[in-house]
Every structure is written in C-alpha cells, then in structure tokens.
C-alpha cells in the first residue's frame, strides 16, 4: 500500500467515524439550543440505539429494517420520557442542576443497560454484507457507505425540518429567544420535549449504524458521545452546520493523527483539540448558533 493510498484510507475511515461524531454533536446542539444545558444522556441514546436494535433483531428476530425503526422510535420515546419526567419535574430549573440531573440519569440508564444486557459486547450484522469495496487502493465496507448515506439523510431531514416546517422554525425561534418565543404563543415546554425526542432519535441512529463495525455494549456510547461533544465545540456549540463540519474534521484528524503521528495518543487528540478550541477560538470554527444574551 503506497503513501497516498494510506492517506486515503485514513481519510475514509476518519470520515466514517466522523459522521457518527457529527450525529452525536447534532444531538447535543438540539438540546443545548432548546434548554442551554449539556445533556449527558446523549451517551446513553447512542448506546441504547445499538442495544435496542440488537434486542429487536438478534433476540426477537424482527427484520432488520423494522428493527431499525422500532429501535429509533424506542429511543425517541425515551428522550421524551426523560423530558416529561425528571427534567420537567425538577424543583430547580437552574442550568447547573439540570446538567447534573442528566449526569445522574446517564448513570442510571447505563446501570440498567448493564443489568439488562450484561457486560459483554454484542455484534450486529452489517446492513448489506461484508464484501470489501476498493476505492483507489483504499478498502471500505458496505457498512461505511450506509453510514455516509444515513448521515446525509439525517442532515437533509434536519435542514428541511428546521427551515421549511412551522414547528422547526418555532424551535429555532425558541433557541434564539425563549421569552420572545413564548410571547409569540410558542409552547417552550413542547419545544424542549421535542428537542429531547429528536436528540434521542439522532443519537440512536448513530449508535445503530456504527454497531455493525464496532459491536456494541452497555457503555459504548460514552467515548463516542464525548468525542461528539468535542466535535460540537470545534464546529461552534449550538451551530448545526458546525456540528457536521466539526464531526468530520475531528474524525479525519483523529484518524490521520493515529495513522501518521502515533496511535499512542489517538484518544488524546480529540480532547486536545477540544481544549485548544476552548482556549483560542471558543466560538468554534463556524461560531455560535445563537446570539449573546446578558
């Protein structure tokens, strides 16, 4: 394998994992824009996506496509449940308290997943076979194509939703100014509910499409989600285009870093980038998705 083929290989694998980071980053953004909090349950959305699909497909024998959508629906409901439950019931709405609540929930769900599925990694079948595809000397799996395809699909859907539908526009309005939005007759609570449901769905999709490559277990979501968050910061926290760019860039940088520099500190790259961005360009590559409020 020549040098350029190697580079191509790194970039392609980087883009695949980067697509997952991008999805997770979008999930973080949507909730951040609606509520201003960092939602740590995002880790569990990713994990549960994969685990539910494993349950439906491998344990219950439901067809793959049906399992995919069933699993997504389950996590969407879970997201909604979390908002309707602890987040809305909470006696204090201080940001710091809500963030900690999501940390607590994340722990609880992870523990439950451990009980339900045990500590072992479980596999998911690829959506369409495992025959290696060669592109200019680099090798990828059909599943990689699925990851690209589905990620693009999700992005197009979100673009349409936020810019072409009334409810999507209402969500954007809420993000810009909660008070004004509620004065305009938008139910802020409903927007928050919707944001949790959507993040759940997007996170679950990320978890499901990566699982056939990496297998999945009760705690796979943590690392993916933390890197997804780094991606969100890199792109500009709250900015959806930034999330996608950030995710892809992070994935490629990580892969190139591991491939060309040293695999020893591969996982440190993402967080090093996170720190550097926070120190030198806190608005991220594409800036904040919302205006400053005092």
């Amino acid at each position: 394998m020549g040098f350029y083929e190697q580079i191509l290989q790194f970039v392609l694998t980087g883009l695949t994992i980067g697509a997952i980071y991008a999805l997770v980053a979008l999930g973080f953004n949507i909730i951040h824009n609606a509520t201003g909090i960092v939602n740590f349950v995002q880790c569990e959305f990713v994990t549960l996506g994969g685990m539910m699909m494993y349950t439906y497909y491998s344990l219950l024998g439901i067809p793959l496509i049906l399992s995919f959508f069933l699993s997504m629906t389950t996590i969407i409901l879970l997201g909604a449940l979390i908002e309707r439950g602890p987040i809305r019931v909470a006696r204090s709405k201080a940001i710091i308290v809500l963030v900690f609540i999501t940390i607590g929930l994340s722990s609880t769900i992870r523990g439950t997943a451990l009980l339900a599925w045990g500590p072992d990694n479980v596999p998911l079948p690829s959506f369409s076979g495992e025959n290696v595809i060669r592109i200019l000397g680099a090798a990828i799996l059909p599943q990689h194509l699925w990851i690209f395809g589905i990620t693009i699909g999700v992005v197009i859907f979100l673009q349409y939703f936020f810019h072409r539908t009334l409810i999507g526009k209402a969500m954007r309005a809420t993000a810009v100014n909660r008070k004004a939005a509620s004065l305009m007759g938008i139910s802020v609570n409903r927007m928050v509910l919707l944001s949790f449901a959507m993040s759940g769905g997007i996170g679950a999709v990320g978890g499901m499409i990566i699982a056939p490559i990496t297998t999945t277990s009760y705690d796979t979501g943590i690392m993916l989600a933390l890197k997804g968050f780094s991606a969100a910061i890199l792109g500009g926290y709250g900015n959806n285009a930034g999330a996608i760019a950030g995710g892809l860039i992070l994935g490629v940088l990580e892969s190139l870093g591991a491939g060309l520099i040293s695999s020893k500190f591969k996982n440190a790259f993402a967080f090093l980038i996170l720190l550097l961005v926070l120190f030198f360009k806190p608005t991220g590559l594409l800036g904040y998705g919302e205006s400053e409020r005092v």
Partner: protein, 379 residues
C-alpha cells in the same frame, strides 16, 4: 443536627461491625473477582470456574471431612475497591488463602497487604509483573505472556514467517506483550516491522492496521483481550489483510466468534486445551479432566467455557490441593503450593517451585485456529 448525622454515621459503622458469626466447621478461602466494571466479563466466568472446583472438592470429602467455603468479594475492577474488599475479608473472615483477583492492576494493589498479612494467593491476572520478582505469597495461574507468545514464535519459525506486525492494547497486558515481542524477536530470529497501539475503548483500529500493513508483514500478532479482539480482526479483514493473524492466549473464548463474526475464520491463538478438549488424542493426560470439567460447566452455567475458565479453575484446584495437603494453615499452604510438582490441571502440567510461581511452560500451550465457529487444534 450535625451531631445527629455523626451518630447515624457511627451507627452505620457499628452495624457493619456486628459481623456474622459462623461455626468453625468450614475452612474459608477468600475469592475476589472483578464482577462489575471493565473486567466483569472475565471475572464472572472465573467465579463460576472456581465454584465448580470447590463443589467438586467438597463432594470428595473436603479436608478430612471439613468443607471449603468460598467468601466472594467484588473489586469492581478498581484497585482501591480491591484493597478495601481484601481488608474487609481479612478483618471479618478467617480466610486461609485467596483466589483472584481478575486484573493485573487490582492484583498489584492487593500485593502489599497480602504479603504483610501472609496470605497464600493464587491470582487470575495475566500480567507477569505479578510474579516478577517472585513474591513469597503470590502465585498466578494464567500462562506467562512470554510463554504464550513463544508458542506463536515457534509457529512463525516453523513456517518461516520472519516479518511480523504487532498491534497491542495500551493496557498493562498489551504493554507487557509489546516488551516481550522484542525479546522473542531476537531469540527466534524474526523482525518486528511495525508496532502499534490502541485504547481498550477504541471502536476503530483501521488506522493502526493500515500502518502495519504498509510495512508488508508476513504475520500480524494482536495482543489484547475483550472487545478489541473482535474489532481488530474485523478491521484487518476489512482492509483485505490476508496474512496469518494471531490473537493472544486470552482470545480462545466463545465470545470471540460473536465479536469477530465471519472475520474470525482462520485467526490463530495460543490457548489452553479446554477449547479443543474433544479433539485431543486419548493419550493426553489432561483430556479426561478437561472433558469432565466442560460437561459440568455447561450443565451448570449453560455456557461454553473458554480459556479464561481454565485459568480460574486451575488456581482453585491447586490451592485446594495445597490446603488438603497442609491443612488450614496459611504458611503451610504456601509451602505446599511451592512444592507442587506435576499437577495435572486444565491449562497444563503445573510444576511450581520457589523460583517459579506460575508453573507452566510453552509446552503446555496449544495453538488453536478459529474455524466455522469452533476452535481446532493447529499443532
């Protein structure tokens, strides 16, 4: 108010201390495993393996009629918790010996206490640091990593595969392996053309494998346990790598096929004979013991035992044998362990001595290959 809290706290401690009093009848041995946390998938299997050994021992009459009872502790794969679990056990239970723990770091954390208290201990942890230098009270049952890799080196030599790529996890086990491979390369005359590392939580090792593959190795050794076994195998196959792949001596587990899927086909690894017991020649002295054990394990836990189970069981068997010989006395048990010669275990023939607290050699190790969802004996 505050005083009230203090009282509650003190009461809490006292509730602990009331303790549980048993009759002096059973001989107690401690057993600490990683039943939760990152080491759990091994820890649970090892607990099961020890349970079988102890029940079998008690059925045969125990130590002159006295049964052996196992006191189980969980170290949560955490060194601090491991020491706490050990202290608790030492303080509350009259244990004469200890089995476990599962992980190298939890084992290392427990060593100062074990040495100070003088508790003969048979560990399940893989890291050779545990028995280098040899410590008075500490033994371990898994093969030395060096022996296991030597088994692979012998294969490489035989098939004249002189250029080797090495991929390892960044945990203690993986790093041990990275040091050993250099030593063996010199000894057996092969060259390590690339050496790469990954984190246990990584989900994609394509970059590392691409780098290795670019150096044109004739064989690739992957040194890790757990989920990365599957991911690395899959990644290697996805990259179209066709040279022989080796996993480590912890890999021959049923879960390997689930993790690696179709990619598992043809991957080789050193292993205990437990995974190929039915294919052993009848002349093999371990065969009967292995077959019986497997039957018992399968009926009791509805699961197929992997190579880790064999290590766990051997630790228990050896310790029980020593207790039988020496009676419930810590120092005597230790001496008996050190004098154990030619003991036929599941993982090999153990010859322990003051210089060797593991007791197996490369000869005891089988090289197996994954084929159609089963392991077969290579040589």
């Amino acid at each position: 108010m505050k005083r009230g809290l203090l009282i509650i706290l003190v009461l809490g401690f006292c509730m602990f201390s009331s303790g549980v009093s048993y009759g002096a009848e059973p001989i107690k041995i401690g057993a600490i495993f990683s039943l939760t946390g990152p080491g759990a998938h091994i820890g649970v299997a090892q607990r099961n393996s020890v349970l079988i050994a102890i029940d079998e021992f008690n059925k045969k009459g125990g130590v002159g009629g006295r049964p052996v009872e196992m006191v189980v502790g969980d170290d949560e794969s955490d060194p601090t918790k491991a020491v706490m679990a050990l202290r608790k056990m030492v303080e509350t239970q009259p244990i004469v010996a200890l089995i476990g723990p599962t992980r190298t770091d939890t084992g290392m954390a427990m060593i100062p206490t074990l040495e100070k208290e003088g508790i003969p201990t048979f560990m399940h942890a893989g890291g050779d640091v545990i028995i280098t230098p040899v410590r008075k009270w500490i033994f371990k049952s898994p093969y030395r990593a060096a022996d296991a890799m030597e088994r692979i080196a012998l294969y490489l030599k035989k098939h004249n595969l002189t250029k080797v790529g090495f991929l390892h996890a960044s945990d203690g086990f993986g790093k041990d392996g990275a040091a050993i491979v250099d030593r063996l390369a010199a000894k057996h005359g092969f060259e390590v053309v690339a050496k790469e590392t990954f984190d246990m939580k990584d989900v994609d090792m394509t970059a590392q494998l691409t780098r290795i593959n670019a150096r044109g190795p004739r064989a690739i050794i992957i040194w890790t346990i757990g989920p990365p076994m599957g991911i690395t195998t899959k990644n290697a196959r996805a990259l179209g790598i066709t040279v022989p792949l080796f996993q480590c001596h912890g890999g021959a587990e049923p879960i390997f096929f689930r993790l690696a899927g179709d990619a598992a086909e043809g991957v080789m690894m050193p292993s205990t004979k437990i995974v190929v017991a039915d294919k052993l020649p009848d002349t093999d002295v371990q065969k009967k013991k292995l077959v019986d054990y497997i039957k018992e394990y399968e009926t009791r836990f509805k699961d197929v035992p992997g190579t880790m189970v064999a290590y766990g069981a051997d630790a228990a068997y050896l310790l029980l044998e020593a207790i039988k010989q020496a009676g419930p006395d810590r120092a005597k048990i230790r001496d008996a362990l050190e004098g154990m010669k030619g003991y036929v275990g599941l993982s090999g023939i153990y010859n322990l001595s003051p210089e060797d607290h593991t007791g197996t050699t490369a000869k005891d190790i089988a090289l197996v290959k994954a084929e159609k969802g089963r392991f077969i004996l290579v040589e």
